[in-house]
């Protein structure tokens, strides 16, 4: 009963639900409308890069965007500092 008087604080389970939903839905909404081959394309890019550099699947990001008449395919590969220094040596 007393809890009700103090209203909804930031530690309430409802606010945890709200924050978690906001994060996951904003991610899922960007994935929406993306072509179905994109995950496979991402996997192929990953496999090719892996032949040369040790990376994980979360280091490759493939995204398709549409701006009016033009679509862009964006491929981002990030890798840790030590990998870069190994490469340049």
């Amino acid at each position: 009963m007393l809890k009700g008087l103090f209203h909804r604080d930031a530690n309430s389970s409802a606010s945890a639900a709200r924050e978690r939903l906001k994060i996951i839905l904003s991610h899922e909404r960007t994935m929406r409308g993306q072509p179905e081959f994109l995950p496979r394309l991402q996997q192929d890019v990953l496999d090719v890069v892996k032949r040369y550099i040790a990376i994980n699947s979360d280091q490759v990001r493939v995204q398709m965007d549409q701006h009016g008449m033009m679509s862009t395919l964006e491929i981002n590969v990030t890798f840790p500092e030590e990998e870069i220094s190994k490469l340049s040596s």
């Binding site: 909804r8 604080d9 309430s12 389970s13 409802a14 639900a17 709200r18 929406r32």
Partner: protein, 270 residues
């Protein structure tokens, strides 16, 4: 031409069929000729909630496959003269529903009815997509709970991509129906609030149905809860119907009831 409304949610068990039965009954009580189609092939349930399960002879698939006429398959509700329902098939495989078949049935019903309510199965598969395909409007039945809100968001994505309206460059009009709302738990920070859900989904609110004992009692008896005069759920569904018809109705059941000390101690049950 009838207005076609899909009752959908993605997640199961949030109250699609319960809501469909009450919204359909409400529209009929307001004088609109309404037909409800149960799209849940294999898991027919709208007949039970309406209390007409023993009168089912033919179903949607029989009609699509030409084994029965629409006239033979439609069941008239015993409480509202303007309400009919077309049951889902119980036994056949889900592929029995075809887009062309559903199109024909809906077009034929469009001639005679003001409203066609499509009670969608749970999920995002074929059955759910067929139920929403021809819709002009969608009622998004959602519980104030993480998985339900997420699934509703998923369904919104499908409504905006996989419907006839979307393919013709239009938009299915979306309505949020928040069900099983417990304003006491919301006040205690244990449940997502109406404001939270609206903020996340950005869909105009059509109704807020409080969590209520009367819903289960009514479905036990096979009576759409909107007929249980005076119960909170009945009041809330009647308001939702009014909003669906474009009327402005103040929102009820958002704040917890202010009950006296004794009532709180001994439970003021309705």
């Amino acid at each position: 031409m009838a207005k076609i409304i899909v009752i959908t949610s993605g997640k199961g068990g949030v109250g699609k069929t319960t809501s469909c039965a009450s919204l359909g009954s409400g529209l009929a009580l307001r004088g609109y000729k309404t037909v409800m189609i149960d799209f849940d092939v294999g898991l027919r349930n709208l007949d039970l909630v309406l209390g007409c399960e023993r009168r089912v002879v033919y179903d949607l698939v029989n009609v699509i496959q030409g084994e029965a006429s629409l006239h033979q398959a439609l069941i008239r509700d015993k409480r509202a003269d303007d309400l009919f329902m077309l049951p889902a098939s119980q036994t056949r495989d889900k592929d029995a529903l075809t887009l062309e078949g559903v199109d024909q049935v809906i077009q034929a019903l469009s001639m005679d009815f003001d409203y066609i309510l499509c009670d969608s199965p749970a999920g995002i598969e074929r059955g759910a997509q067929l139920a929403m395909y021809f819709a002009d409007e969608a009622v998004l039945v959602t519980n104030p709970e993480v998985s339900s809100v997420r699934d509703t968001d998923r369904i919104i994505g499908l409504l905006q991509a996989k419907t006839q309206a979307a393919k013709n460059g239009g938009k299915v009009k979306e309505h949020l129906l928040l069900t099983r709302y417990n304003s006491q738990r919301v006040a205690e920070g244990e449940m997502l609030s109406l404001e939270d859900v609206q903020d996340i989904l950005s869909v105009p609110l059509m109704g807020l149905i409080p969590e209520s004992e009367s819903v289960l009692k009514a479905s036990n008896k096979g009576i759409p809860v909107i007929h249980e005069e005076g119960t909170d759920a009945s009041i809330a569904y009647k308001d939702a119907v009014a909003r669906l018809l474009g009327e402005e109705v103040p929102l009820k059941f958002v704040e917890p009831e202010k009950t006296g000390f004794l009532n709180r101690m001994f439970g003021g049950r309705k």
